[in-house]
Every structure is written in structure tokens, then in C-alpha cells.
């Protein structure tokens, strides 16, 4: 019975791993294809399609656009999320629960609908489609997340330490800079990292709100129109590599803190 259980567990787990890794493996392997179609038989390895990606000005500029939108919109989202979390934790505000609910509400709505709503009001207000508009949308989806993460880490314990700092003569600015921010740094870092990941990968909002200058997922989407293409494999593999490296760095930074 025990042995059978172990055996079936191993087979099942391997089958699920195979299912999970199949598309990624196919993506990466056929990005090294030397001929024009990413389908069997494998004709590589060749770095031809990676060179094609790096020499494509549309893709490289989309990459920089994506980075800029991810970094700036995440900083705005974290700043707004932090200020509001701090405000709610430190002061008793009238209708606090309702306001907190309002700020977290966008978490429950699909990106497609948020993007469409923004498109509607931007149309009405005559705001042109561009990266700034997409950035505004990314703050809308990430602000509730940042708020929720940072707010959940602000307990009474933190408030008492702040109070102690103030009793010891620290100014408000000093309390914020030397006490509150260092205390909350893991939460702030985590929400910044998550926001950047979501913004980096976000498609629908950027698709609806940008026109010529656009982000990488939208540019990849445009590539898809040409059907199966090893160049798409190469971009996809590069994005995957970048994300995995970022995730490892994130793990290491958070892990390094733990033993202390």
C-alpha cells in the first residue's frame, strides 16, 4: 500500500511537472531554431532569432517603454499606497472602513473592464492614447495591492515605536524617514516588486490605451499576427529569463533578512 502510494505519487507529480514545463520548454528550444518555422524538426541551435530581436528597434524601444512604465507607475502606486496605509493606521478617520473598501475595490474587477472604463473617460476628456494613459491604468490596478500589503503590516506595535521616537524628540520627518520606512521596508519592497511584475506583464490596458509607442506585451501581440515565428520565441524566452532572474534576486533579498 505504502509503496504503491509512493509510486503513484511520483508518477502523478512528474506528469504534472511535464504538463507545466511543456510549453516553456518548447518555447525556449525552438527559439534556437535556425530555419523560419518554430516547429519540429529542430534545426538549431542558432542565435539568429535572438540577433533579430535585438536588432529590431520596435522591440527594443517597446522594452524600454515597458521598463519605464513599470518603474514609474509602481513608484507612484507604492507612494500612494504607503501614504494612505499610514494615514489609515495612524488616524481614526470618519468612514474609514468604507474608504479602505473603496481603495481595494479595483482588485475585484477585470483588467479589461478597468482599461475600457479609462478609454471611455479619456475619450470624453480628449486625452490622447499614449504610454502615460497606460501608466495611469497600471497605477489603478497596483494601488489596491500596495495599499493592502503595506496596511496589513502596520500594527499597533509599529505605532508604539513611532510614538516612542516622537517622545524622544524626533520630528515628524525624522520619524517617517528613520523609523517608519525602515520598519516597513519588506512590505514596501514586496509591493514595489509585485507592482513592477504586474505592470511589466500587463497587456489589455496597454493595448487599449496606447497607440504607436507601446509596451512589450503589446508589441509581442503584434508579432503574433505573423503566425508562428521563432522571433516571437526568442523575445518570449528573453522576457522569461529576465523575470526569473528578477524573481531570484527578490528571493535572495528577502531571504537574506530572515536569519537576523
Amino acid at each position: 500500500m505504502r509503496v504503491y502510494m509512493k509510486f503513484f505519487s511520483a508518477v502523478y507529480a512528474l506528469a504534472v511537472y511535464a504538463f507545466i514545463f511543456l510549453p516553456v520548454a518548447v518555447l525556449v528550444v525552438f527559439s534556437l531554431q535556425s530555419t523560419a518555422f518554430p516547429i519540429p524538426p529542430f534545426t538549431g541551435p542558432s542565435s539568429r532569432w535572438y540577433e533579430a530581436v535585438l536588432n529590431d528597434p520596435r522591440l527594443t524601444s517597446a522594452l524600454f517603454n515597458s521598463l519605464a512604465v513599470a518603474i514609474i507607475s509602481s513608484l507612484v502606486a507604492v507612494a500612494l499606497g504607503f501614504l494612505s496605509a499610514w494615514g489609515f493606521a495612524r488616524f481614526t478617520l470618519p468612514g474609514s472602513a468604507v474608504m479602505r473598501g473603496l481603495i481595494t475595490l479595483p482588485l475585484t474587477v477585470s483588467y479589461l473592464i478597468i482599461g475600457m472604463g479609462l478609454l471611455v473617460i479619456f475619450n470624453m476628456a480628449g486625452v490622447p492614447k499614449n504610454l502615460l494613459a497606460a501608466g495611469v491604468g497600471h497605477v489603478v490596478i497596483n494601488l489596491p495591492l500596495c495599499f493592502a500589503i503595506i496596511y496589513s503590516q502596520m500594527g499597533d506595535h509599529q505605532i508604539n515605536i513611532e510614538r516612542a521616537a516622537r517622545d524622544l524628540g524626533a520630528t515628524e520627518a525624522k520619524v517617517l524617514w528613520l523609523v517608519t520606512l525602515p520598519m516597513l521596508w519588506p512590505a514596501i519592497f514586496a509591493s514595489l516588486f509585485l507592482s513592477m511584475t504586474f505592470s511589466w506583464d500587463e497587456f489589455v490596458i496597454s493595448f487599449l490605451l496606447t497607440r504607436f509607442d507601446t509596451t512589450l506585451p503589446v508589441e509581442i501581440w503584434n508579432l503574433l499576427r505573423s503566425g508562428l515565428n521563432p522571433k516571437t520565441n526568442a523575445v518570449g524566452s528573453l522576457v522569461f529569463a529576465v523575470s526569473v532572474v528578477a524573481a531570484i534576486i527578490f528571493e535572495l533579498i528577502l531571504l537574506r533578512r530572515r536569519p537576523a
Binding site: S9, V16, I20, L22, V26, P40, L105, G117, L118
Partner: protein, 268 residues
Amino acid sequence: MLVTPALLWTLLFFVAPFVAMALLSLNFQAEGGMTVANYSQFFTNPSYYRAMVNSLQVTGMVTLISVLLAYPFAWILAEQIPPRLQRLALLLAILPFWTSYVVRSYSWLLVLAQNGVVNDALLRTGLVTEPLQLANTRAATIIGFVHFFVMLLTLTIFASLKQLNPSYRKAAADLGAGPIRSFLYVILPLTLPGVVVGAFLTFVLAIGDYITPQILGGNNELLMPQLIMMQIGRRGDFPLASALALILMAVVTIAYIACARWLKIERT
């Protein structure tokens, strides 16, 4: 005030768009005209109505299959793998999470294409003589979704299995329950709320997604997000698109209320 910027942002870029969409969907005119024509169109035009039925069927299937696949997998990770390897096993299980969403669907297209890897393998082994039509089908959409949500659900179910107090299992064993009875009567009921939350998340994220059905399912049959995008893109019909978006949101809200009520009953 510290909370003002965040509130203003939410009001301006989240609440206001909703109000605008609601007014637009009713063809609201300043002179006082209003009509529910866009909504009645949804209920009378079978192709619109059909998209909602398709969406519900696909999302339901995806949620069910993902839970059934992920639960045993998470259980194996949590119970059968030595603790020091668990973190690594879990990290590996969600590694493909880090491919971009658009690229992930494209990768499945590569796998399922007419001359893709799966058909190639099937033809070589002689299991089929003609390549199967796998891409641009409902099955392809479901596979693409399941791939994503198995990873998500494995993570959430693993977490709820790990949170279980090991003394429950010991108590069950002391009272004479074998491993199967202990699982059915103790572990499964205790992890069920976590599963329901994960399943709800799957439902909400899948029903609102445009990318996967558009890339993998093609245009043979439309799901709600595809129908909405079609109104915006090809037809520029914002009032109808707004009405459809609000109907979709209403469905999600109903699912949310059902889920919240179930969890409440479960807790008391």
C-alpha cells in the same frame, strides 16, 4: 491628509470610468433620454447571449479541472516530498508563472499547432494518421487556462495543507481512522475553504481574460471578453461594449456573493 491622493486617484480613474460606462450603456442623453436597448440586445440577440454561455461553460470547466489536477499535486508536494526539498519543488512548480502572459498562450499554440510538437509526436508513434485540429478550439483555450491556474491553485492549496495542525491527523489516527478516512473526513473538509477561495479566484480571473481565448480559441466561438473587445475594436460601439462589460461584472459579483456566503456558513 495622507489618504487623499489615493482616494482621489481611485475616484478619478476607477469610479468615474464606471459611472461613465454605466451612463454610456444606457445611451444617457443630457436632455433626459435613456434606454435599456443595449441590455435588451444582450438578452434577445442569441450570439451575444451565446458568448456568456460559452464563457460560463469554459470557466466552469477550467475551474473544475484545475482544482482536480492541483489538489493531488499540492498534496504530494506537502506530504510526500521531504521538507527540505519542498521549497525547491514548489518554486519549480510555479517557475513558468514567470513567462509573460501573452507568451504563455503563444507557447501553447506552438505545442498544439497543426504541425506542432504534439501532432508531430502522435504522427511519429502512429497513433493518428492525420494531424489533429487542436489549436483554435475550445479545448485549446481550456488547456491554456488550466496550465496557468494549476500553478496558482497548487500554491494556494499547498499553503492551506501546510497550515493544518499535524495533531489533527494524529488525533484521527488515534481514533482509528485509516489514511483514506482521515483524508476524507479530516484533511479535505479542513482545506476546503482554501480550495473554494482559490477556485473563486480562478473563476474571476478566467472569465475576464481576453488573451487566452483570443490566441488559443480563435474566433470560431466567442467568449465574453472577446465579444466586448470586438465591440470596441472593430465596431467602435462603446455603449454596447459598456453594457456587456457591466453584465459580465454582475456575473462575477453574483459568484462573489455565493462564495462569500458559502464561506460564512462553513465558518459557523
